[in-house]
């Protein structure tokens, strides 16, 4: 049966005619029996019943009724909303503000946590590392990696990688490039093919192979204007020419650790680090792998356990106790963001619920105004279901419009916010409004519409026709009042949960800021330095001279009060480790039996520069150099751990990779290398300081300079200190480069960035919730006061005092608020535990936070009740009674 409007109208008029003929025949029969025409007509009409309803039920039999009805409801709904544009605007805006952030956050969670990695068969991708006594996921030595690659039975391919940085010369000004040293299988594992040229082939990653490189599309565009001629061109990295063989597709953005935005990929074998071929060396190399089809991570782990156990048997001196850690690559990339994102998603969900409850409140208030309209419709033959449907159509219409607006907000705002987020969010480039996000927005919009549509709908449809008509729409609505009471309780409860979550974050951050990092981070600038490749060609003496010259140049910059080079370690940023054993104890048989310490290779002014307290003995001087006996300074953790009950000063230790025997000459305070929050719980905390100039000659090869940094303390009144330093370096030579400059304060604050963002967003959500909830309470109490104006008038007329009225209204409001607070406290007790991982220095059920925020909310609720309560107090009994 085709749906045609014309056809439909014809059938309608035919139905009308059919029923009219029925009436006439019935009336005719009655007049035949002797009734008057008038009597007969009205009796026939009475017998027939509600003609509108008969028509409606009959029409339903035609089959197209549901669509027809929907169109009718929609038209009617639109008309009703157009009649009260203020209400519609407020509702739609409230919902858009609720649905927008939810959709935005969901699109982030979806892109980062839910979506598979953007590579073929992403489930097969894993991340591998060596598990060692000190590190659950330590670096893999190159020879071990080769054996893993050869001996495993569960991986279809495996590759090693190591972040690196090169000084690029010959293409404009010298600049520092972010590089990744990789083995040939790296892109095979990921299933990424070059857009131009080729990938590395097996053998090209070996030590001694010809120098080649692959570049990223961004670098290709920046330096070669995306010209195909780039293939075969030389790239001068640290003074050595690498021939470009391939270009990686644009959009390739694999975040491994904090290392992103790589410019160039170079075969791992090109690394001239003398330790690379050593099986015991820990050089920051990790691996990725692709499992064979159908192999689980557990199976891969079991397989790798066999591989590492046989290696340990074969090379007991270096591989004893070394296992393999295998994790899903996706988890490794997004691991720590999970709790952060899910907490925020939950919080923003609460805001939406509160917004929904507020809208439901509005709808209830409105439905009381419309009670008469519904009563009339029911009297005219609309069934209860029909009225329910009508109300739902209207609310879903509102929520879908709000949802669409929210989606626009989300689409427009998500990327903008992501780019400004001070958090290094992995996979952020993969965040987009995909089908799942659209469905999410649609589903929550519909759910909202049904939720707040049903609340008043249920009430209205049940209300007694008679009463509604009689009361002229003012309703003696006990149920309605109860519904609104529940709304207030829910709102207050949820607002309290959000407030407590935000409060706990604020207290955590406060506690973290109070943590003493062990040094004074203010007015310190750190930056990477690159020396010209030519420095490489002289001997170690020349290298030392170049380093001294560089530090002198930095020190001479006006405004700099102290300056020190550092071989690689910057607290909270990079770490470096040394193996050692204590003199007087037998030399350990293998590297694995040696002790580990965090190592800082710095110059004499470092201690004064960082304001690390000297506890005993002395720090280095200029005289502790390449010509004098080796000395080290240790921190108090080192002293307590390795010399318990003894004086470490004057004792000697042997450093495995830094020239052997060294005397301990001083003890300094501990520095929180691993971050303000987790340092205390790390297993590796002992620290030692080594004089830069006493580095063994082979360590002064330019190839080990990658990661060399400088730290300067400066006068905060100096403008643009970083520019001054850059100019000073440029004056030394055009091959000197400065990169990645950041202040120590920035390093500390970015170490807290995730928590800070969580705190800010939770705070914003909590403030929004507080505002919405107090609006909700205010609205409900105002409404109740309006409803009870007469009652209050009577009370006043009978001699009640104004204060009694005030107490009555406040009491009513506070009863709801109190219940809401109780519900909120209970809910918070259960829910804040889930975010314990984001907290620091405060328990998830911190009584002070709970009580003080409950009190704050109680005060706000009291204020929200007070305004309508005052209005109630001022009710003029005469006016109120006459009003009736």
């Amino acid at each position: 049966m085709t749906f045609s409007f014309w056809h439909r109208q014809k059938r309608d008029s035919e139905l009308e005619e059919e029923l009219q003929s029925h009436l006439q025949m019935a009336a005719h029969d009655r007049t035949d029996r002797g009734e008057t025409l008038e009597q007969a007509t009205s009796a026939a009409r009475r017998d027939l019943g509600n003609i509108t309803l008969i028509k409606e039920v009959t029409r339903e039999m035609w089959g197209w009724a549901s669509l027809e009805r929907l169109m009718q409801d929609l038209r009617y709904g639109l008309r009703m909303l157009a009649k009260s544009p203020g209400f519609a605007a407020v509702t739609i805006l409230t919902l858009a503000l609720g649905i927008g952030p939810n959709t935005a956050l969901f699109s982030v969670v979806n892109g980062v946590l839910f979506n598979p990695l953007p590579y073929p068969h992403p489930d097969e991708l894993v991340w591998v590392a060596e598990s060692k006594p000190n590190f659950a996921t330590g670096s893999i030595s190159f020879p071990n990696f080769r054996d893993w690659q050869k001996n495993n039975h569960t991986f279809s391919s495996m590759a090693a990688y190591r972040p690196y940085s090169y000084n690029l010369t010959g293409l404009g000004d010298a600049e520092q490039l972010r590089a990744m040293l990789i083995t040939s299988d790296f892109f095979t594992v990921l299933g990424v093919h070059p857009v131009l040229g080729r990938s590395f082939v097996p053998g090209e990653d070996e030590i001694g192979a010809a120098p080649i490189a692959m570049i990223t599309a961004g670098f290709w565009k920046r330096k070669f204007a995306s010209s195909p001629d780039a293939i075969g061109k030389p790239l001068a990295l640290d003074g050595k020419n690498y021939s470009i063989v391939g270009v990686i597709p644009p959009g390739f953005d694999l975040a491994l650790g904090s290392f992103r935005n790589v410019d160039v990929f170079v075969p791992l074998g090109q690394w001239s680090n003398p330790l690379l071929p050593k099986r015991g060396a820990g050089l920051g190399i990790h691996g990725i792998g692709r499992l064979n089809q159908g192999v689980s991570i557990a199976q891969a782990r079991a397989d790798m356990q066999g591989v590492t156990e046989s290696l340990a048997a074969e090379y007991p001196d270096v591989d004893k106790g070394i296992g393999a850690a295998v994790r899903s690559l996706k988890q490794t990339m997004v691991g720590e963001m999970r709790l952060f994102l899910l907490t925020l998603l939950a919080a923003v969900g609460f805001v939406l619920l509160i917004a929904c409850v507020n809208v439901a409140n509005l709808m209830v208030a409105r439905s009381s105004v419309r009670a008469r309209e519904f009563a009339i419709r029911a009297a005219l033959g609309a069934s209860r279901g029909r009225i329910l449907r009508q109300l739902l159509t209207e609310s879903v219409l509102l929520s879908l419009t709000g949802g669409a607006l929210g989606l626009l907000l989300a689409g427009w705002g998500t990327q903008a916010v992501l780019q400004r987020l001070p958090v290094n969010l992995p996979r952020s480039s993969e965040v987009s409004l995909d089908a799942r996000v659209l469905i999410f927005a649609l589903v929550i919009s519909l759910a909202c519409g049904i939720f707040f549509g049903l609340a008043p709908a249920f009430k209205s449809a049940r209300s007694d026709l008679h009463d509604s008509l009689k009361e002229g729409g003012r309703g003696a609505s006990g149920t309605r009042r109860r519904a609104q009471g529940i709304f207030v309780i829910v709102e207050v409860g949820m607002a309290l949960v959000l407030l407590i979550a935000a409060g706990l974050m604020i207290r955590s951050l406060g506690a973290l800021w109070r943590v003493n990092p062990g040094f004074d981070p203010h007015n310190i600038l750190t930056f990477g330095v690159a020396l010209p490749p030519s420095t490489n060609h002289g001997g170690p003496a020349e290298a030392r001279a170049a380093l001294r010259q560089l530090n002198d140049a930095l020190k001479a910059v006006p405004g700099v009060t102290a300056s020190s080079l550092s071989w690689g370690a910057i607290p909270l940023e990079n770490d470096d480790e040394d193996l050692f054993w204590i003199e007087g104890k037998p030399k350990p048989a293998s590297d694995n039996d040696m002790s580990w310490a965090l190592s800082y290779v710095v110059q004499e002014s470092y201690l004064q520069l960082m304001k690390i307290p000297l506890e005993r003995g002395r720090f280095f001087t200029e005289r502790d150099n390449e010509n004098t006996a080796h000395v080290i300074v240790v921190d108090d953790v080192f002293a307590k751990q390795y010399f318990p009950g003894q004086d470490p000063i004057g004792q000697h230790i042997f450093l495995q990779n830094k020239g052997g025997r060294a005397e301990i000459i001083g003890i300094v305070g501990h520095v929180k290398q691993w971050g303000l929050d987790t340092d205390d719980t790390e297993s590796l905390r002992a620290q030692l300081y080594f004089p830069y100039m006493q580095l063994p000659d082979q360590a002064l090869d330019a190839s080990s300079w990658s990661g060399t940094a400088a730290l300067v303390r400066y006068d905060p009144r100096t403008p643009a200190i970083a520019d001054e330093l850059r100019i000073a370096m440029r004056k030394l030579s055009s091959g000197h480069a400065m990169y990645a400059a950041q202040t120590m304060d920035e390093i500390i604050s970015s170490s807290l960035a995730t928590r800070r963002v969580a705190m800010i967003l939770l705070g914003v959500f909590a403030a929004l919730a507080l505002g919405l909830a107090s609006l909700g309470i205010y609205g409900v109490i105002s409404y109740l006061v309006g409803q009870r104006t007469q009652e209050i008038g009577v009370r006043l007329a009978l001699g009640a005092k104004h204060v009694d009225v005030l107490r009555l209204i406040l009491g009513e409001g506070m009863k709801m608020a109190g219940l809401g607070l109780a519900v909120g406290l209970l809910a918070a007790l259960g829910l804040t535990r889930l975010m314990a991982g984001l907290l620091f220095g405060v328990s998830a059920t911190d009584p002070l936070t709970f009580v003080s925020l409950a009190a704050l909310l109680a005060i706000v609720a009291l204020a929200a009740c007070y305004i309508p309560a005052r209005r109630a107090m001022r009710v003029d009994p005469i006016v109120a009674l006459r009003y009736e």
Partner: protein, 119 residues
């Protein structure tokens, strides 16, 4: 007040269909005529609610068990007249036998003794 009509439709649906089809077996008839016929033939016991009758007629028409035409009645009035289709005749037969089964079954339940004596 409102829900009554729909309840009746549901209650009488099966039976009402049977009664309508049976009534139309004697020839084409309009809605009013059908309701009068059912009433007369049942000895004034069964009163067909108009609110049930017309929805039922339109539904049966949609199921193609009956068809409708406009005719001019004796009073020169245009009336909608329903007639049984071939499909409707089959339907009537099956509904009748089903009804016979149901009423036998109910009778059996109501008078168990009689049934026993028969066996």
């Amino acid at each position: 007040m409102t829900p009554r009509y729909q309840n009746r439709i549901e209650l009488l649906q099966g039976t009402l269909d049977l009664l309508i089809l049976q009534t139309l077996r004697w020839g084409p008839q309009h809605g009013y005529g059908i309701s009068q016929a059912i009433r007369t033939n049942s000895g004034d016991i069964l009163q067909v609610d108009t609110g049930s009758l017309y929805p039922a007629l339109h539904r049966l028409e949609r199921q193609k068990w009956i068809s409708a035409d406009w005719k001019i009645s004796g009073n020169k009035q245009r009336v909608r007249v329903y007639r049984l289709t071939a499909k409707g005749r089959k339907q009537l037969a099956s509904e009748r036998s089903r009804w016979a089964q149901v009423s036998d079954a109910i009778a059996g339940v109501l008078n168990p003794a009689k049934r026993e004596s028969e066996t």
